[in-house]
């Protein structure tokens, strides 16, 4: 290999990695591409040759799925529940994390530990009493109730992540702000939050994805069609149109596309949210 230039040699060394990565990417993406392609086929085409590409692109399937089922309602519910949950989580967790990270008070460690404990329990550990509680409080079958459950579920991780981040802030920053007559809430609002924008963004996208995709608790707490979120609506839709292949594929795509768009826009923030939270 001596006769090759350094650059060419390096490129040749990378070749097996490119080959394996391309192979893995193709295997990973083929199911998604196949589902998208199938949504453009007619039922007859799917039944006769599941592997073939669509003969002509039938976008009609999407319209039929959208208007035939209540996807507009599911979509609105998902947006409303997810955006509200993310906003509440960001506000409450940043407030609490600031207190845990920067203030000295009796019970600081212990109360923080209570939040940590919440991350160790499997989801099923709370379901029975939660269902009963939600009926007691008249919050079962309610979008607002689901938001509270989602916020409560996301708080431990959010506080853990932001606390670690806030602890890195120099104490001088707060001291000098105090000298300028800034109280702690003003410091939080005017200095801490603006400086934490990248972290809040990463956390926000991470919580957004988790909330948008949540299924188990929604399945337990919501049983009215008009209040279903997209994942829940998709199961109802699939049960109803199980024999209509093309429509089923279109329904899956309608649920998947918003997540793909958010992912393409905020890919870096999301992956940062996962890795920063995990390596700290």
């Amino acid at each position: 290999m001596e006769f090759l230039s350094g650059k060419a040699q390096r490129r040749l060394q990378g070749a097996p990695f490119y080959f394996l990565l391309t192979l893995a990417t193709v295997i990973t993406l083929v199911p998604i591409i196949w589902v998208f392609a199938s949504a453009l086929k007619s039922n007859k085409e799917i039944r006769e040759n599941a592997l073939a590409l669509p003969q002509e692109w039938r976008f009609q399937n999407y319209l039929d799925a959208w208007f035939g089922a209540s996807f507009d309602e599911y979509f609105f519910n998902s947006i409303f529940i997810t955006v509200t949950s993310v906003a509440i989580v960001l506000f409450l967790s940043s407030l609490a994390a600031y207190s845990f990270a920067k203030m000295r008070f009796r019970g600081n460690q212990m109360i923080f530990f209570l939040f940590l404990v919440g991350m160790a329990f499997p989801l099923s550990a709370k379901l029975g009493p939660l269902l009963s509680l939600m009926y007691e409080l008249n919050l079962a079958n309610s979008r607002f109730g689901l938001i509270l459950v989602y916020v409560a579920g996301s708080l431990p991780f959010a506080i853990l992540m932001l606390r670690a981040f806030f602890q890195g802030f120099p104490q001088e920053l707060e001291d000098s702000a105090a000298l300028d007559g800034c109280n702690r809430f003003q410091f939080y609002l005017r200095i801490l939050l603006p400086l934490s924008k990248p972290s809040l963004m990463a956390l926000g996208i991470f919580v957004f994805m988790g909330t948008w995709n949540e299924f188990f608790q929604a399945l337990l707490l919501i049983n009215e069609d008009s209040k279903r979120t997209l994942p829940l609506g998709l199961t109802a839709f699939q049960d109803e149109y199980f024999t209509d292949f093309a429509l089923s594929f279109a329904g899956i795509n309608i649920t998947a596309v918003p997540v793909i768009i958010v992912y393409i826009m905020f890919q870096r923030n999301l992956i940062e949210g996962i890795t920063v939270g995990s390596l700290k």
Partner: protein, 305 residues
């Protein structure tokens, strides 16, 4: 003089007696919501598992370990738990090592890192519901893609009812789970790799270390804590797997892919709250025992070596 001294003394001491309420006000809203809608129900689940209680009647009566007696003698409970263990053993190996190798490959290349990372992570962004339906169609007996593909490449003998065969249904759901899981391990390993000083890899290259030598003697030891985290994450998801199996098989056929969370969900659906909470409590104890045991073992091993 004495007056000012005592005043100064008083001033110095006063913060001890006055409780600063501000920190408590800052955590209060988060604590209230968390305790009512998360921690409270978990604790209630534990206490109520010792009472006769269902959703419909408000009366509760202490009955000791009766629910546990039923659960621990229920073959279906052990059946479900054993499937979680099968899932667990596969999950701490397959998606973890897939993620590690893909992360190392991405780390080794120069161009296209962002593209490969984004493309390979894509399945991990979907809801379990979307993942399950994608695979439900892949496995579909005649509209699916898997059986025709096997026939096309001459492996027609392997065509199957992937979700209908009791012997392999659980493994079919595991493939869907893996498809959506290895990306998590990959991005976490990749972030861990980027934290390792490049000096070590440069030194290894100068010494003529090959790919496998670097992997075994540098990468894997340096990622010790990252491995612990990635595997712990898999322990939690494998013990709490629900959506993918619920949609793909519903736990069937003949309960051969049943798992704890589906078992608990079914109990709640039948208003058997006592059995549901007892089963959930046993599961919680098992999960906490396995995860903390694993973490302690990893800490002990890294400390003793």
């Amino acid at each position: 003089m004495a007056q000012t001294l005592s005043a100064a003394k008083k001033k110095r001491h006063s913060p001890r007696f006055r409780i600063d309420l501000m920190p408590y006000l800052f955590i209060l809203p988060a604590v209230v919501i968390y305790v009512i809608f998360n921690l409270g129900p978990v604790l209630a689940s534990f206490f109520l598992s010792f009472f006769r209680w269902d959703l419909l009647s408000p009366t509760t009566e202490y009955i000791g370990f009766k629910h546990y007696d039923f659960i621990l003698n229920d073959d279906k409970f052990w059946n479900a738990l054993s499937h979680n263990f099968t899932f667990l053993i596969l999950a701490v190996i397959i998606p973890v090592w897939m993620g590690l190798f893909l992360a190392v490959f991405i780390y080794e290349i120069r161009r296209g890192r962002v593209f490969f990372r984004a493309a390979l992570f894509l399945p991990a962004i979907f809801s379990g519901v979307v993942i399950a339906y994608v695979w439900k169609w892949i496995y579909h007996p005649f509209a699916g893609v898997l059986n025709p593909t096997l026939e096309l490449i001459g492996l027609g003998a392997f065509t199957q009812s992937w979700l209908g065969n009791p012997k392999i249904a659980l493994y079919s759901t595991f493939i869907a789970y893996t498809w959506a899981s290895f990306g998590y391990s990959m991005v976490i390993f990749l972030a861990g790799l980027q934290d390792i000083s490049t000096d070590i890899f440069d030194a290894a290259r100068v010494d003529g270390a090959n790919f496998w030598q670097k992997l075994i003697w540098i990468t894997i030891p340096c990622l010790y804590d990252v491995f612990t985290f990635v595997i712990t994450l898999r322990i939690f998801t494998a013990m709490g797997v629900f959506g993918v199996i619920y949609i793909l098989t519903g736990g069937g056929p003949f309960y051969q892919s049943d798992v704890i969370d589906i078992y608990v969900f079914r109990m709640i659906g039948n208003f058997e709250m006592g059995w549901a909470t007892a089963a959930a409590t046993v599961n919680t104890v098992v999960v906490v025992f396995i995860s903390t045991g694993f973490i302690k073992w990893r800490e002990w091993r890294s400390w003793s070596s």
